[in-house]
């Protein structure tokens, strides 16, 4: 204890500087938790807290009793898993490949081109995707031109529910692959060049260097990012699903956020929205702990 205060005294400048952030954290991250109480009320706006009717777990019962909720839960999990897996695999692969490129000019071009889509908003991106996939869009024209399809039989990609996850996954990869590689490329620069030299002396070719030097070198970064992303597993995003979804693919495109919007906020049923939000937070929390624990057991880098 004395040690603690001694340290605090030594680092008082640091301590003082962190006070505003602690206040910020408390005000914006902890105080709002009070709002969770709404999930257990039959909430009516403009009424005081004491005037609300308490109804216990009604909203949760409604959520889990509804087929639609189970369906959107499935969609949410499926889409974020797709996102998580492909996002990682493609970004790491691209980073590894970029790392091997010796021609700086070419490397810059590839990097720029691949991370540009990150900077366009989903609204614009969704429009591009819709146009590309429409019956008279590029992909259908290509398929017709190559003789895979007859004219007049063009595929309505966004109208086939089962295709939605694939389209979603591909779109997300296209949009964020370049951006996601940045952190891995940065991690790769920290690898000691002597390791590569040693590997070369041992007779490793480029591919082997990639597998045995570069990959282990960025392992800790990958694991920390993975743990953090697992915490976001129930956040599959809102914009792409909302913008690319339509009546035909709703069975596969609707996720928790859209469900909350439709049946909670749009109907002014705020309690339901908050109940769904609470569910999401609790599940995310559990997932995060599990992932972190697993990493700890395996003796790997971890979040805390």
């Amino acid at each position: 204890m004395r040690l603690f205060f001694k340290k605090l005294g030594q680092q008082r400048a640091l301590a003082v500087m962190s006070v505003p952030f602690l206040i910020w954290l408390f005000v914006f991250k902890y105080l709002p938790l009070w709002g969770w109480s709404i999930a257990f009320q039959d909430y009516k706006p403009a009424r005081k807290f004491m005037e609300q009717t308490w109804i216990g777990f009604e909203h949760f019962k409604f959520l889990f009793g509804d087929d639609r909720f189970l369906r959107v839960l499935r969609n949410t999990l499926a889409m974020s898993s797709i996102n998580l897996f492909f996002g990682f695999v493609t970004a790491i692969t691209l980073a590894l490949l970029l790392n091997e490129i010796r021609n700086i000019a070419f490397k810059r071009v590839v990097q720029t081109v691949s991370y540009l889509p990150h900077f366009i908003s989903w609204v614009v991106a969704a429009s591009i995707i819709q146009t590309t996939l429409s019956p008279d869009g590029t992909i259908n024209q290509l398929l017709v031109g190559l003789g895979f399809l007859d004219r007049g039989n063009e595929i309505l990609f966004l109208g086939i529910p089962e295709y939605f996850w694939t389209i979603f996954g591909a779109s997300s990869v296209w949009k964020d692959i370049g951006w996601n590689t940045i952190v891995y490329l940065a991690a790769m620069t920290t690898i000691d060049p002597t390791q590569y030299e040693a590997a070369e002396i041992d007779g490793a070719n480029r591919f082997k260097k990639m597998i045995y030097v570069t990959l282990p070198g960025i392992k800790s970064v990958v694991i920390v990012l993975l743990i953090m992303n697992i915490g976001y597993l129930l956040e599959s995003g809102f914009e792409p699903q909302y913008l690319l979804g339509n009546g035909m693919n709703v069975d596969y495109s609707e996720n928790i956020d859209i469900f909350v919007l439709k049946y909670g906020i749009a109907q002014s049923n705020f309690s339901l929205s908050i109940a769904a939000g609470m569910f999401k937070t609790v599940v995310s929390f559990i997932l995060l702990f599990m992932a972190n624990n697993a990493a700890k057991r395996m003796g790997e880098a971890r979040l805390y």
């Binding site: 009516k44 706006p45 403009a46 908003s121 989903w122 609204v123 429009s127 819709q130 146009t131 996939l133 429409s134 019956p135 008279d136 007049g152 063009e154 309505l156 966004l158 109208g159 809102f238 914009e239 909302y242 913008l243 339509n246 009546g247 035909m248 709703v250 069975d251 919007l261 439709k262 049946y263 906020i265 749009a266 109907q267 002014s268 049923n269």
Partner: protein, 579 residues
């Protein structure tokens, strides 16, 4: 959005809501700071007032500025007294309004006001009105109207009872009321549209039924096989889905009541989403699709893509409401004005029904009051008396003329018969920037006013566009020629005369948040959005099986309850109107 557009669009409160949300998503809106704070300081001195002010009974008062929040996005924020009309009104009453329009999501904005219990002086909550009422944010207006509102009583007089809330008090003034005679607009609000070249080639036939309409399109396409034409497209994007689900109602000869059709004899409201009429309409589209005449992408395209298709010259026909396709029609109109050879790509509205003998109802009928939208004075208002006096003063005949026609000799003329008109020069002068600086824009919508189909006491149309003399001036030679072929002077003369419906429109009935009615609508929307595309795109032999499947789902809804509720509302409105 024009006046009519406003009325129609607001019919689907939830859809507007979703639109607003889309706007949030699309713009990641940063709430704009409320503009330069140039509200003028009260000087205490009063300026010499205009002649109109002499009619005021009150003595001249200090100038005041009130804040007003408008839940419909539209214009730029600003002070009304910076416009010509607003300045005149300020001279008369000493009242200036600082207008703020919604940016981003309406419910969030209103929700914040409610949570903070802090409102602008005057509030136009649009779709969020029910929440505002529940929060007790409006003050009752009864006494104020009694004391200071002779014009309000004149304009809303016969509807005052319809405006009462459950507790018997009036909390807001609906956006517009019918005054004097009813004149239909010169253009129908909706219809089955077809390219003019199609009509020309067919020799301008009289098209009355859906079958004839489809036949017309088929014939044209068959003769022009190599031009890569689309027979019909349909708008399905998001809340605008009603452009695809509403036609059965119109094809049966009913006006736009939203989810129901209302029998004028029994005042029974019936839904049609699962009825034979809807089946017939979808079957028609299904056949059209099988024949390669329907644009499949209709079910995945967004609104912009739809508008782009309509201006591409490739689409022969579609059903929609005029306010929704105004942009596309205006583009085609402007192009044809510059180059008359493009006239054939303009669209012509047709009064199509299922049966030859059914009178159509595409023109909105004289109806009751839209009572789920309005303007109210909030509990935060500093001086409700001044505000209600301002509203009352707005509703005088002279000021209603001022707000839509402007100033005599400047923006309109009067001929020897007392008819108002505009010269070509005036028409050319009144463009968008002029409308803004003159104040036509601020005062075109969402104030207490005569509605668009009203007339002034001297028989002139309240709405400039509805005045036949003005309408005639906007027509090109080609327009006149095609109207002549059908023996009419205005487009609306092609359509059947509207039958008065004192409850109209049924979509304007206020629904409680989170009520069974609202839930029915939300579930129905979701179901139709899912099954209609399936029904249209399936092969014709499987159509009946998919319909069965849809019926099974649809049967789970409490449709009877919804119909009962709507019928009750209709009857209550009719009764109040007959009092």
């Amino acid at each position: 959005m024009n006046i009519q557009g406003g009325v129609q669009a607001m019919g689907k409160s939830k859809r507007i809501w979703l639109l607003a949300l889309t706007a949030v998503v699309s713009l990641s809106v940063v709430t704009a700071c409320s503009g330069p704070n140039n509200a003028k300081k009260n000087t205490g001195t009063t300026e010499p007032t205009s002649a109109a002010a002499t009619t005021e009974t009150e003595p001249k008062q200090d100038k005041v500025t009130f804040k007003i929040f408008n839940g419909v996005a539209g214009s730029k924020d600003g002070n009304t007294n910076e416009t010509t009309i607003g300045k005149l009104l300020e001279d008369q009453t000493g009242v200036n309004f600082k207008l703020e329009f919604v940016v981003g999501d309406l419910n969030t904005k209103i929700g914040t006001m409610i949570a903070a219990n802090d409102y602008p002086d005057v509030l136009i909550p649009d779709a969020a009105i029910e929440e505002v009422l529940n929060a007790g944010a409006f003050i009752p207006l009864d006494e104020l109207i009694e004391k200071y509102g002779p014009n309000i009583q004149r304009v809303y007089g016969k509807s005052l009872n319809q405006m009462r809330s459950k507790d018997g008090k009036i909390y807001f003034l609906p956006i517009a009321a019918q005054v004097n005679d009813f004149i239909p607009e010169p253009e129908a609000g909706a219809g089955f549209w077809v390219q003019r070249r199609v009509l020309e080639e067919a020799g301008y036939p009289k098209i009355k039924t859906l079958d004839q309409y489809i036949e017309l399109i088929k014939n044209y396409r068959d003769k022009h096989k190599d031009e890569n034409l689309t027979g019909m497209v349909s708008l399905t994007h998001d809340w605008r889905f009603f452009a695809t689900s509403n036609p059965p109602m119109h094809l049966m000869g009913y006006p736009n009541d939203g989810n129901v059709t209302v029998d004028t004899n029994t005042w029974e409201a019936k839904t049609y989403a699962g009825a034979e009429s809807t089946k017939k309409w979808l079957k028609t589209l299904n056949d059209l699709n099988a024949a390669g005449l329907f644009d499949k992408a209709s079910f995945v395209d967004n609104y912009d893509q739809y508008i782009a298709k309509l201006t591409s010259h490739k689409v022969l026909g579609f059903f929609d409401y005029r306010w929704q396709v105004d942009n596309a029609l205006n583009v085609l109109k402007d192009a044809a004005r510059k180059d008359p050879s493009l006239d054939g790509f303009k669209y012509f509205p047709l009064p199509v029904t299922f049966e030859e003998g059914t009178p159509d109802a595409y023109l909105d009928p004289p109806g009751g009051l839209v009572t789920n939208r309005g303007i109210g004075i909030t509990v935060s208002a500093k001086d409700p008396v001044r505000i209600i006096q301002f509203f009352d003063n707005m509703l005088t005949e002279e000021n209603q003329t001022l707000m839509s026609w402007g100033i005599k000799g400047e923006t309109y003329e009067v001929n020897e018969k007392g008819r108002y008109y505009r010269t070509q020069e005036q028409i050319d002068k009144i463009d968008e920037p002029f409308r803004e600086s003159f104040g036509f824009k601020y005062f075109s919508w969402n104030w207490p006013m005569y509605n668009a189909t009203s007339t002034l006491a001297d028989g002139n149309a309240k709405n400039v566009a509805s005045q036949p003399e003005v309408f005639q001036m906007t027509l090109t030679d080609k327009d006149k020629a095609i109207l002549e072929k059908y023996g009419v002077q205005t487009y609306s003369q092609l359509f059947a005369e509207p039958v008065p419906r004192p409850y109209f429109p049924a979509w304007g009935f206020a629904k409680e948040q989170n009520s069974p009615e609202q839930l029915w609508e939300a579930s129905k929307d979701e179901m139709t959005k899912k099954y209609f595309p399936k029904l249209v795109l399936t092969t014709p032999d499987k159509f009946d099986a998919v319909w069965e499947e849809y019926m099974k789902e649809f049967g789970k809804l409490d449709t009877a309850g919804y119909e009962k509720w709507t019928t009750e509302q209709v009857k209550a409105k009719v009764e109040l109107a007959n009092q």
